[in-house]
Amino acid sequence: MTAMDELDVKAEFSRLVEARPPLPESLDPGRLMSRGQRIEHRRHAAWAGAAAALTAAALVAVTLGMQALVGGQPGPARVAAPTTTRIAPPTAVRTTPTPVTLPRLSEAETCPERTSTDYPPGTSARGAGLPSGAAVRAAALAAAPRLLPGARVTHVKTWESRVDPRSGEPRVVVWFDLVSQGGPGGFGFEIYPFRGVTAAALASWDFTARPYSNCTAARRRAEPNGSAGLVYVKPLGNYAKYPNGARGQASYYDRRGVQVNVDTVPWAYSALLAAELHNPDLGVPDPPATRQTLPMTPDQAYQFARLVSQLPLSS
């Protein structure tokens, strides 16, 4: 092959795909139909559930209104009140709101398209530990009233992989919905172990790698205990083209060998869950933005990351 002046792109592409492997079973029509049918059933169930929840909420509102009209006497509303729990599961928390300046989506940096970021030489995930998904979930929900006053946080989904199908590493992923005054949003954890490199060195490696160095608002943090972090001050993404793609990110590199990434997005992770077919790696387009700001500041995301990095590890 030579780099020709007149590049025959089609011929080059043909050459690339001529050595393709046989079609895998995952593309068998019967298997695809079966998965498609499961999704349809889930959608129907979700619609039915949403309709039931709306009906229940309407009943509560009507009952409360009637109660107010008759002078606030206790009545059937006290019986109906727990219906709220069905809309927000028992894991939800709510506290008094306090003013926080949240990044507006339109402030998003226009970051050039990213390239892969490998690990520094000598880094390995073998034998390293991770916190359990259940512990991450519990810690985040417990900290939410303090870190996100006034917000309602609901657990959406947890994945724990000993060998992540894409990266080959162990991984924990936990998604949450977050409803605050700005509307519905979400935040999520992605946790990887690392060995063979210090936390500070790994943070520096990521900081100097694309896409971080192209986002001028990225800040590096050094913790007194030898851990380190990265925080994006502004949402990442090109708002003009992808208003729903804006997001804030924070990473905490714990000295014990755990990297905790936290992102915060202007749409609910529960909306992404159905589209992703319960597979966090399909990378389908993000749902439409449902608010004009990110639901938390990147610094708040960093606090969540730091908190979770302190959890006990198991290999």
Binding site: M1, E12, A19, L27, S167, L277, V284
Partner: protein
Amino acid sequence: MPRGADDRDEAFGAYVAGRADAMRSTAYLLCGDWHLAEDIVQNAFIKLYAAWYRVVRHEVLDGYVRRIVVRTYLDERRRGWRRERATESLPETAAVPVGDPESRIMLLRALAAVPPRQRAVLVLRFWEDLDIAATARLLGCSTGTVKSQTSRGLDALRTALDLAEATAQNEEMA
């Protein structure tokens, strides 16, 4: 079972059987990884199945699947959260050895150096044979953008090929 479900399954099965290989090749040219290409195409076909009655009315099956494939690829590149590993070698596949594998590796590396949107434009125009207007519609941009992305993409591919060829020659000499 909803009305017409049997018809859908039969038509869907026939469509997948006929187009899965081609769509997977398109996805592979976009992402450079057969496993990821399979994931992307699987996702696209499942969505097609769920939207079958809506899509089939307009007889735009290929366009629908192609759009999902390209957007999934671009969004994955844009997502920028999970760590991606740069690969030093071709992904492990059960491929039948055909042609010159070294030159394919070189070409794959060169293609990986082309920015994602430019790469998508090259694949749509030169592999899928879409014209400028159709490419612009699929990517949601202007025809002028498609033209400029095509030009830049070709430049980037030529440059990357030159570099890959020079590197290979140096390795041979060493």
